[in-house]
């Protein structure tokens, strides 16, 4: 017991450095997913029929294939075929980001279509182009509405990021396993890794709740 604790205490800084890597993966993937997800959502709501179909196909693919398979496909397959040399970290960010974009696009799409028609109508009636109306009127409202679901997506991406270990990204889980295999303290180390993920989930969702309150518009509800 004492021995476990001293090993844990010694390993903690090393694990915490892993959480910096995890945060990096998650931040990168969520940002990519946000930008691309917004574009996909707008395309799916306002785009031409062929674009809607194409985006539907994208969403279907990236929501239907397991993360691990996509990681292998991109890391060992696609990028080496294209002769692009990317680190495991970058590939993890890209793959998690592309998957998250598929999920996020559905969050934003739901938020956009839940807005009353009149918002776009009124913007057009003032002479705004559709692009201007989407940027100034539709997205500011839709993004606010999407925060709770987005926060849920964050906690999913955070947990999924542990799969990046399969490519050798030195995130929390990889480090826990590395230390465990040398010290034979598997259970305490994995448990600690899990607790770090719990804390990161809590911190992130808490921050997003604060953001939600900050950008809340008085009286606005749906």
């Amino acid at each position: 017991m004492i021995e476990s604790l001293t090993i844990l205490a010694g390993a903690l800084p090393y694990l915490l450095k892993g959480s910096v890597v995890t945060i990096g993966v998650v931040f990168g993937a969520m940002s990519l997913g946000l930008l691309f997800g917004i574009a996909l959502a707008v395309g799916q709501v306002y785009g031409a029929i062929w674009l809607k179909r194409l985006i539907g196909l994208y969403v279907w693919f990236f929501r239907g294939v397991p993360l691990l398979v996509l990681l292998f496909l991109f890391y060992f397959g696609l990028f080496s075929l294209l002769n692009i040399n990317l680190t495991a970290f970058t590939v993890a960010v890209i793959v998690l980001g592309l998957i998250s974009a598929a999920y996020q696009s559905q969050i934003f799409r739901g938020a956009i279509v839940s807005l009353p028609d009149g918002q776009l109508k009124a913007a057009r009636a003032l002479g705004m182009s559709d692009a201007t109306a989407i940027v100034l009127i539709i997205l500011p409202q839709a993004l606010r509405l999407a925060i709770p679901a987005w926060s849920n997506e964050y906690s999913i991406v955070l947990k999924d990021s542990a799969v990046a270990y399969a490519l050798g990204v030195t995130e929390i889980m990889a480090r826990a396993h590395f230390v465990a295999s040398r010290t034979y303290q598997h259970l305490p180390l994995y448990f600690t890794a899990g607790v770090i993920f719990l804390i990161l989930t809590y911190a992130g969702t808490k921050a997003l709740r604060l953001l939600e309150e900050r950008v809340h518009i008085p009286g606005y509800s749906q």
Binding site: P116, G118, Q119, K121, A122, A123, R124, A125, L126, G127, M128, S129, T132, L136, I137, P140, Q141, R144, I217, P218, G219, Y220, S221
Partner: protein
């Protein structure tokens, strides 16, 4: 009336179909400067659709729109956006931008459509809000305003664009009775200042005091037009008389 005068706006032989259903059938309206034309007619007659065809919020299947004698080509985006800036629209359910304060609602199109700089746009917005009596409420969000206040903000928002004509689609229908007067007062004010307007409404008695012309519409067709007095008391068409009788019963004759 002089025949030389070019109407501010004319809508010629507008037709709109949804599927097989013809919602507006070859309807024509033309409005001279300072005119107030009022469209009346039962629910589902196509009033909203016709008004929205005028600024191409709904694209008509046939017909054309002329603004000050110039035909609009809606496939040319610049033309379209120009038309919409020149035609102010007031909606039945206000359609204020829910994420913006009253002030920002009025200001946003000035800045982002007309490209007016921030200070000027702000000042202009304040002036328009003052004109509709909402200076004290300018920092409130739509959800914090009463229906009547919201509709006045939306009027201020349209006025700030310096429209050549305003389209008002049942501006008081969504309001509680005690809030109707404040909005009608603002509209009366516009009329007195010579604003050119087309309005659809069920407020027959108010409209009959102000309108130059009544347009009775039913089942997508403009059935009859004429002075309020004529339409209300000696309409040629049986349906028009029936409608006016019913509307008087519901809303009363006195304003």
């Amino acid at each position: 009336m002089s025949t030389e005068m070019i109407p501010v706006l004319s809508a010629e032989r507008i037709t709109k179909r949804y599927g097989k259903k013809t919602v507006v059938r070859t309807a024509s309206i033309s409005v001279n400067k300072g005119d107030l034309k009022v469209i009346i007619g039962p629910s589902g007659a196509g009033k909203s659709t016709l008004l929205q065809c005028i600024n191409y919020l709904v694209t008509p299947d046939e017909g054309r729109i002329l603004l000050e004698g110039r035909e609009i080509d809606p496939s040319r985006k610049k033309d379209l956006y120009r038309l919409r800036q020149d035609v102010g629209m007031i909606f039945q359910d206000f359609n204020l931008f829910d994420h913006l304060t009253a002030h920002d609602n009025v200001r946003i199109a000035l800045r982002r459509v007309k490209g007016i700089d921030k200070t000027d746009a702000s000042e202009r917005a304040v002036r328009e809000l003052e004109r509709v009596g909402l200076l004290d409420h300018m920092h409130k969000y739509p959800a914090q305003l009463s229906g009547g206040q919201k509709q006045r903000v939306s009027i201020a928002r349209a006025l700030a664009m310096d429209p050549k004509i305003m389209l008002l689609d049942e501006p008081t229908s969504a309001l509680d009775p005690e809030l109707i007067t404040e909005v009608l007062a603002v509209i009366g004010d516009l009329r007195a200042n010579g604003m050119t307007m087309i309005m659809s409404t069920h407020q027959i008695s108010f409209a009959s005091e102000m309108a130059d012309e009544f347009i009775f519409m039913e089942a997508g067709i403009i059935v009859e037009t004429g002075s309020p007095a004529k339409i209300l008391s000696q309409a040629e068409c049986e349906r028009t008389r029936e409608f006016c009788a019913k509307i008087n019963e519901i809303y009363g004759t006195s304003y």
